[in-house]
Amino acid sequence: MNDVVPPGRFVENLFEFRPPPGLSQKESRKNVVIVGAGPIGLAAALELANHQVHSVVLDSRAAPSEGSKAICWSKRSLEIFDRIGIGDRAVEKGVTWQVGRTYHRDREIFNFNLLSDTGHKRPAFINLQQYYVEQFLTERATENSFVDLRFANRVVGIEEDPHSVTIEIETQSGSYRLRTDWLLACDGVRSSIRSMKGLEFEGEVFEERFLITDIEMRAEFPPERRFWFEPTFHNGQSALLHKQPDNIYRIDLQLGAGADPAKERRPDEVKRRIERVVGTSDFRIEWVSVYTFQCRRLAGFVHGRVLFAGDSAHVVSPFGARGGNGGLQDVDSLCWRLAAIVHGRAGPELMRAYDRERVFAADENIANSTRTTKFMTPADGWERIMRDQLLRLATHSEFARAWVNSGRLSVPCIYESAGADDAGLPAQSRPGAVAPDAPQGKGWLIDQLGVQPAVMGIGCEPPAIPGARAFRIEVNESVRSRYLGARDRAVYLVRPDQVIAARWAKHLPAGIEAEHSAIWKEP
């Protein structure tokens, strides 16, 4: 992403370089060093802080990211934001949206409403520019004593031994070294740590070029996601329009495989295209970039003491909001385990569980986003015929609307789990799934699930086990449909990342202590 009009909205001095202690004296060995102060790196630092783990965060930049980049934050991401202290700010500033409309040529073929399922604290999605998320997270990280945030600190080399990583860092005032037990690479799609390790992505790269732009425009467009297949205003290619705060609109335009990026990025060319989308010339281009898609990942995310999370580990096309949201879910799966290792509760082999879960999740995200990309940019021949016929079918056959794929929006995957289960309980809360939220009095269930394991009694008293918080929850309609199903009582064991570990409805709760210790063991 380059050729940028800087957004210029960030707090003065927040990202300023401050000479690190390592320039004048050797620093003590660190538990965790995070490379990259984007949303994933900062979220990891704050989540580790929730688990009383100190970290140093290094970033070569001295400013927030340019352009709005990630804009759609999912319900699950907002729940994670709540845990690291920026949930309210994000929702307050963001544009909550629930309606998506899909058009073929200039006619709406269907729309969806993501808020059909109520009784959750957070909405299905908000739109918020990545630079706001980075600003909010940076402010939290700056005031958090567990996080040592260092901008304009560039990693130029790493040396590894079986138990630590030594990092060579350059700053404007000189170089220094840090030794750490764990290095967490959150340095994005062009990860320098990945290159230093000589690791390569595996998977598909798509040829099709897309123009992505953010414009500032006073307009009465509703807060909806609008997607067009073959609109008349854009030469039969696809187009996406999405509203962000501050009268900013995101527009994605398919340019075709033969497009010349240099020409397409020219302001007059961009302006001409956008005028046709929005029907006015009264807008200001804030950011523009021309890109191609990749749907790829590293073979593994754990390499000795170097861990990868977010775009450094996997990349997807943007039409499903699975990049940033997927990265935050990496943080979710990683940090409590890393904390357990740092605190000596578990051995380093527990990282294999992170690797297994998030590779599984990355494959789900990659599969979804690859399918969307194929649907949006079909190859000539059979792919094209199938796509076009499906769109035609969708205008008069209602079932076919669900087959139209303009993006399958991010939801957390359900991990494979060997945890105890009961067939009479609802599928949505089975072991491996994130605990569904539900109203609780004037509050929410999700807020009662902290960073400690929890034992929830539903219609019964939960058993007390050492090291877990046990509490009884209020049974209401939402709880009944999400947690009880055909049963009248149940006990749920929930992991520190709010994923359900095991559940019981009969023989309450046989083997719960073993299930509890299994959370920290790699089978």
């Binding site: 059979w382 015929i385 199938m386 076009d388 016929q389 499906l390 035609r392 056959s397 076919a400 087959w403």
Partner: protein, 71 residues
């Protein structure tokens, strides 16, 4: 699978379906035939509903391709 073990009872129905499939394609250009096939596949898959059944049907169909076109 049960239909296959008792084929004689539904000869008439098969023949009529086969005839209907042919009739639907008469008079269409090759392009339009392919378009119709695409739409028909999607409609049939929707009506069958089961991913497993569809995969099985696809495998059976693929096995019927002449040898020199199987990759």
């Amino acid at each position: 699978m049960t239909e296959r073990s008792k084929p004689t009872e539904s000869f008439g129905a098969h023949d009529a379906i086969y005839d209907e499939l042919l009739s639907a394609y008469y008079g269409l250009s090759t392009d339009r035939q392919r378009q119709l096939t695409a739409s028909l596949l999607i409609c049939l898959c929707h009506r069958i509903g089961s991913r497993e059944e569809i995969s099985r049907a696809l495998a059976e169909a693929r096995a019927s391709l002449p040898d020199d076109t199987v990759r």
